[in-house]
Amino acid sequence: MTTSTTAKTAGGLANWADERLGASKAVRGLARKIFPDHWSFFLGEVALFSFIILLLTGVFLTFFFVPSSAHTTYDGVYAPLVNQHVSEAYASTIRLSFDIRGGLLMRQIHHWAALLFVAAMTVHMFRVFFTGAFRKPRELNWVIGCVLVLLGIIEGFLGYSLPDDLLSGTGIRIASSIILAIPIVGSYLSFFLFGGEFPGEMFIPRIYTIHVLLLPAIFLALIGAHLTMVFLQKHTQYPGPGRTNKNVVGLPFYPVYMAKQGGFFFIVFGVITLLSALVTINPIWNYGTYDPSPVSAGSQPDWYMGFMDGAVRLMTGWGEVHLWGNTLSLNILIPALVVPGLMTIPLFLYPWIEQAATGDRREHHLLDRPRNAPTRTGLGAMAITFYILLLIAGGNDILAVLLRLSINDITMTLRVLVFVLPPIVYWVTKRICLGLQRKDRESVLHGRETGTIVRTETGEHFEVHEPLDEFTRWKLVQHESYQPLAELTAEDASGVRRPGGGSTWKRRLSNFYFEERVDPVTPAELAAAHHSHGEHEAIEGSPAGVAH
């Protein structure tokens, strides 16, 4: 085809599309939309791409998987299982792994992608949290994101339970015990869910429908809403010269982002495939089919369920109480339902909690550097510490073997650490943030240390400090620093008490957040610093403007 005919064909197609769909208007409005660039913005995309990979490989798996608990006798190629009584679900998973070329690879990619899906969502959430991207107008998208993470955990749990192997069956048994522990209705719920007693024969087909139909449909809807909102509200951007709350600085969607994102999808897909080719996970042929009687030592759920299992392991038995002829299993309810609930509710509400402390109702499109929000960063680090300790507790048996320590000692230590360590981490993180902010002030006021030592005629030694250029400086001074509401509502300069300032708890909350703070350098402070130190700079920072 010559160039002119190609152009003619393309033109014809474009015309066809425009006259039927109004495509030119969409292209004009959207193709050159600007997206800001930063490596951390790709974390959410890793999650999105993992989801697409899950859909693709999942469809392949459904062609061979038989979602049934019906009993059958295995007579395939895998000798250790021949003539064993297994379920159809298990037998078909073994078949698709060993008899279907590429089947094992597809299973591995599906499982690896699921692990990555939840991990990427979690890390993406950390990014959004620590940079304050959840602030107005993005509160709703934060909530949708939280729902997606929770659903991802549930979807993953149901997915790895489908092969009906010994390990996942043990997980289902634990899930059934959690349901049984629910007061009053627990045993009824369990009988309805399992179609009778555990394990029964209804469970696999039921969770199959939820795993391949119900939850993916909800995922598609929520991801659609999530992305639409990113598009409508435009992406946030990191602060820097030329980047304001009123603009978006970056590169156009077409062609730059299309090529970059498209390429990145293939990279994520490629890396997951490489992992699947090299590292076998969930070798269900080693576990055997589910049977409630045997179990293997070191039974572990997939990583994203680990924190819950860890909470359960840390609990003591005293929680189970017997009253008025009934049993209330707080030893199960607290770690399996209450603790995850208490972790989730503040997560969902966080945008509003912080808004109550700042009293700030403006739109925020410029991200925070984590150090400039010390209390938030400290709280985030505290929450992550708590989560990681629970995750470690979920592997206390593995840890005991690896470190050759007593499992009882590890558990006792972790029981103490989950209460003690998170507040310490909060405090340390906050101190580090405040310290970094002071260092920023130092750099702005006294410039960069050049490492050049100069000796004056009088014998005095000093290091030459080079003033920051205005672009570097802007990054360190552009942010705003909140004051506690209480200070604002005190008497003003003329001794008149200001009205408003919110209720007592709001003031307390605000104090908790902003009592300790470091304000950015003002031009006046910089001028004063130059004035007082003359040509060469002293090392000590200026206390002026530094509260506390």
């Binding site: 070329r101 049984l180 399992f194 603009n247 978006v248 390429g263 409630p292 003591t316």
Partner: protein, 345 residues
């Protein structure tokens, strides 16, 4: 709360005497774009072009490798078992590596293309307030009011109230329809198939057990005889498994002795915490450990919980021997085995 929030007060900028200093620094604006090598050096650009093409070419090679590996390594049942599994693994490895190269090549090529040859000078677009104009908002409110007026909901409360009532009731069938998801629990959670005289057989190989088969310190996994012939063997297996252990007679406590036979005791293997099999027996300490959440039970104290999240001891199955000397249940379990539930008592 005011729109301005609680940001530091503007102080008026009077700090430095005669010269007016602004309160805040000014944004210096976007720094000038710095050219990449490929922007200024045509040769470098051609080199980048070749690199991108090479990555795409590599991808094509990967695709070929995946296809060749798929067809060249058929799964052949005439191979021995070990060779067959080796074939599966090799196929998984080579098809996977081929796919990796195919996918990664495209991805790396595209990203390299973007980074070296597509424009990278940043552009600025204005944001627009998400909030509608005052006019938009007034019109929206007016539309809602007008539509509400047209429906007459405010004027005809009978329609409104009856609709609310009907809507509140309508979801009920959806809930009720779920009733047949399963039968009611009844007393099923409290029952096992053990009864007086049920023989203890080995799990999984089967076969009755004589007291003399057990030496001191030995442990046997046990199921009730006939469990495979029940209607739902797995459901029964979720409750009935038992651990049979012979202890030195002196180690048995008073409570356990009544249900024991010559120092042989049988305890439910189903953890009283979350129903995992308490399958790890530590011979030296006479402890039973659940591998799921590490609840530890002491055999010498009637299987009392000595560590971990479980509360109740493992229920004991009282045992004796029949006329032929085989171990059998003396009676059923005296309480529900396994995890707790509300009605358990």
């Amino acid at each position: 709360m005011s729109e301005s929030s609680n940001l530091p007060e503007v102080s008026g900028g009077s700090s430095s005497g005669t010269v007016a200093v602004p309160d805040r620094f000014e944004d210096p604006g976007l720094p000038q774009h710095r050219n990449r090598v490929t922007d200024v050096d045509a040769q470098a650009a051609r080199r980048a072009e070749r690199q991108v093409a090479a990555l795409f070419g590599l991808s094509a090679v990967g695709t070929l490798l995946a296809l060749v590996a798929y067809f060249a390594l058929p799964y052949d049942t005439s191979l021995g078992y070990i060779d067959y599994l080796g074939r599966v693994q090799l196929s998984n490895l080579l098809v996977g590596l081929g796919l990796f190269i195919a996918l990664f090549g495209i991805g790396a090529g595209a990203v390299h293309w973007v980074k070296t040859l597509m424009p990278d000078d940043e552009q600025i677009q204005e944001r627009h307030a998400l909030r509608g104009s005052d006019e938009d908002r007034d019109i929206a409110v007016a539309i809602f009011k007008e539509s509400a007026e047209e429906t007459g909901v405010g004027r005809r409360p009978l329609i409104r109230n009856s609709l609310i009532g009907a809507m509140a009731l309508a979801p009920l069938p959806a809930v009720v329809l779920l009733r047949d998801l399963g039968p009611l629990p009844g007393s099923k959670l409290s029952e096992t198939i053990w009864k007086r005289g049920t023989a203890l057989v080995r799990d999984p190989e089967g076969g009755k057990i004589k007291a003399s088969d057990l030496v001191e310190g030995s442990v046997v996994h046990v199921l009730p005889e006939g469990i495979e012939e029940t209607e739902h063997p797995l459901n029964e297996k979720a409750k009935a498994p038992v651990l049979l252990i012979r202890l030195a007679p002196g180690l048995l406590d008073e409570t356990s002795r009544a249900g024991a036979y010559q120092g042989i005791v049988a305890y439910s293997k189903i953890c009283t915490h979350m129903g995992c099999p308490v399958a790890l027996y530590e011979q030296q300490t006479h402890h039973l450990l659940c591998p799921c959440h590490q609840s530890t039970f002491d055999l010498t104290q009637h299987c009392k919980v000595i560590f971990g999240p479980a509360r109740r001891p493992l229920p004991q199955l009282p045992i004796t021997v029949d006329d032929e000397g085989y171990l059998v249940a003396q009676d059923r379990f005296h309480e529900a085995v396994g995890p707790s539930f509300w009605e358990r008592g």
